[in-house]
């Protein structure tokens, strides 16, 4: 089939990888460049945390998340990204004065899914054994079977892979005005396809009137003296931050680790993504002073050696969300729309794409 995918962010890329396996011919449209750096999926920390997300999400997110975790390894192998996925568990902790936050967190999880009963409680000794650089904390929860995808490298590797395939035509910097069944409208011109996928995210507002952008902000740190290997969340009465390790970069690869950053990485140093604020505003202006103070003071309290870390980059972006914060799939004749993955992009994309394809083009 001759297929169009409009929007080549995270969902568009996962769609393309899936459809290529079935031998389809693809035309990819994106209003920005194909490197994907303007997509929300490029700003993401790429957390795979179906349990931890339950604090504010519904159990459907949990089910899709578990499925995505099964699907990611094959997707990443396909594009040659062999070290872009880690599933060694995540850590949830809080300062001693905020223990009620931990109790509230675990209570909410247990209320929502029975599996949460199995989450392991760590005392200081057990925590230090697992993550020696979290020794400042007395108590934590350890959620096995959670982890992360190296979001930035996924975006780049997937982009390069798709670019090299002869079945793929990539039309970047092309604004699609409207999408209808089997049709893509560009500057009053109509192009016909056997099937069209709408993966435009916030660009699809002409169709989804209830779509909104939720601002998120992240800071990239480079630290020589800190070795935290698992994504770690610090619960606090007012802001919840996560620290996601990004390792030492691409060994032997000539792809820059982060397109935006101009600072070359010190050999042996490690990078961490610090996020994530949630601001109800469709605003992609640079990181605010208030947010940076919250994020940095919180990360400093996780381990004071972060005081010597270098700030290599800050990024802001907006995630597309519907009012219920749940993803939405719309299937009709020759047309599939996927949107509203909100803060759960990497957690949901493979499972939602699989579901959308099974209910639509393969249905």
């Amino acid at each position: 089939m001759k297929i169009a995918i409009v929007g080549t962010g995270l969902v568009g890329r996962v769609l393309a990888l899936n459809l290529l396996k079935q031998g389809h011919t693809l035309t990819l449209f994106d209003k920005s460049s194909k490197d994907g750096t303007s997509a929300a999926g490029f700003t993401a920390a790429g957390m795979l945390a179906p349990f931890a997300e339950l604090e504010t999400a519904e159990s459907i997110i949990f089910e899709h998340g578990k499925r995505s975790i099964q699907l990611w390894p094959d997707l990443l192998k396909e594009i040659g990204l062999f070290d872009g996925y880690k599933l060694d568990g995540t850590i949830i902790t809080a300062h001693p004065q905020d223990m009620s936050e931990l109790n509230h967190f675990i209570g909410t999880l247990k209320h929502k899914v029975a599996e949460a009963e199995e989450i392991e409680v760590l005392d200081k000794e057990a925590l230090t054994k697992l993550e020696s650089d979290l020794e400042q904390h007395n108590r934590a929860y350890y959620i096995k079977d959670e982890g992360y995808v190296d979001a930035q490298r996924f975006m780049m590797f997937a982009g390069n892979y798709l670019d090299m395939r002869s079945e793929v035509t990539w039309r970047e910097n092309t604004l699609v005005d409207k999408i209808e069944s089997g049709k893509v409208y560009i500057d009053e011109e109509v192009e016909a396809f056997d099937w069209v996928f709408d993966a435009r995210g916030l660009g699809a507002k002409e169709h989804f009137s209830d779509l909104r952008g939720v601002r998120g902000e992240v800071i990239w740190l480079e630290a020589n003296d800190i070795d935290i290997t698992r994504p770690t969340r610090l619960l606090h009465p007012r802001y919840k931050i996560y620290v996601v390790p990004r390792g030492s970069g691409c060994e032997g690869m000539d792809i820059a680790y982060c397109n935006e950053c101009k600072i070359s990485q010190e050999p042996g140093s490690k990078r961490y993504i610090i996020g994530a604020t949630e601001i109800e505003s469709e605003d992609t202006s640079p990181l605010s002073v208030r947010s940076s103070m919250e994020l940095l003071s919180a990360v400093f309290s996780v381990n004071s050696n972060f005081g010597e870390a270098r700030i290599v980059n800050t990024e802001t972006n907006c995630r597309p969300a519907f009012r219920d914060n749940l993803p939405r799939i719309e299937n009709e004749e020759k047309l599939t729309r996927i949107n509203g993955l909100y803060r759960h992009g990497y957690l949901l994309a493979p499972a939602i794409v699989e579901k959308a394809l099974n209910e639509g083009i393969y249905g």
């Binding site: 601002r215 505003s281 208030r290």
Partner: protein, 273 residues
């Protein structure tokens, strides 16, 4: 909504508006905007507080969130959450007046970064300025009687002492202080703001004769915010009705409300003291 709440005698006036619900509700911390919308509707509340974070002060940018708030069709009470000085609070209030088109402002000046305890000195200072500028000020304060006096002195018609620290869910830490403020200012509108954790806390505040209760976390952080909103609706009504009905005097001895003659002894142990 039950019948008695719809009758005219059970409406009340605050900030120039006549309302029936005495529950003021916050709009933060819900799992999703859709859940917030349903919880607020279920609560029957007619006043919703909205934080004007400076980052989202751009109405156009924050558009969809404000649209949801507006679509509720109830009074919006913007707040100055996150301000640490009178000057900052006044600026935020002025911005809020433009954004929301209301002269109502929940004045919140924080004096301690960690427990968010209000700064009484800066709050009084800001209240004075805002009242002169024509705002209807809803000041959030501690349960200190003298601070309440100062706020009344500068012209506040509404005072909102805390039950306990914001977000703590500990309920009414010091009911005697709240009673003292109520007795001192029978003519002012008094709202217990912050610290409410359970429906019974809200009932207790209303039983003290407070005009209303303002809360957010207790509903938004419940496992089921919509159900908890329903619970608070009834809790506030129950407390108000209890206050209006006039509670009996406590006694220092047991007093059976039914004659003990002919009552099996195991029932007698259940009599309330």
């Amino acid at each position: 909504m039950t019948k008695h709440m719809q009758t005219n005698e059970n409406t009340w006036e605050i900030g120039g508006k006549r309302l029936s619900s005495r529950l003021l509700i916050g709009s933060a911390l819900y799992p999703s905007p859709a859940n917030m919308e349903e919880a607020i509707r279920t609560s029957g509340s007619q006043i919703v507080t909205v934080a004007l974070r400076r980052q989202s002060a751009n109405v156009k940018a924050g558009g969809d969130f404000w649209n949801i708030i507006k679509s509720l069709g109830i009074e919006v009470l913007p707040n100055t959450a996150g301000c640490h000085s009178a000057k900052e609070a006044v600026t935020t209030a002025q911005m809020a007046r433009e954004v929301f088109g209301t002269n109502w402002i929940k004045l919140e000046v924080i004096g301690d970064q960690y427990n968010l305890q209000p700064d009484p000195f800066e709050t009084v200072k800001a209240a004075e300025v805002l009242i002169k500028e024509g705002f209807e000020v809803f000041p959030y304060t501690t349960d200190d009687l003298v601070v309440a006096k100062r706020l009344a002195d500068v012209g506040c018609k509404i005072i909102m002492p805390w039950g306990s620290m914001i977000g703590s869910g500990k309920g009414l830490m010091n009911p005697d202080n709240l009673i003292a403020i109520r007795k001192q200012f029978p003519e002012l509108k008094l709202i217990v703001d912050a610290g409410i954790g359970k429906p019974s806390h809200a009932t207790q505040a209303m039983e003290l004769g407070y005009d209303g209760v303002l809360l957010n976390s207790a509903i938004a952080l419940a496992h089921d915010p919509v159900k908890m909103a329903d619970a608070f609706k009834y809790a506030v009504e129950a407390g108000r009705l209890g206050y209006e009905a006039g509670t009996m005097q406590q006694r220092e001895f047991a007093s059976a409300s039914t004659p003990t003659v002919g009552t099996p002894f195991w029932h007698q142990f259940n009599e309330e003291v």
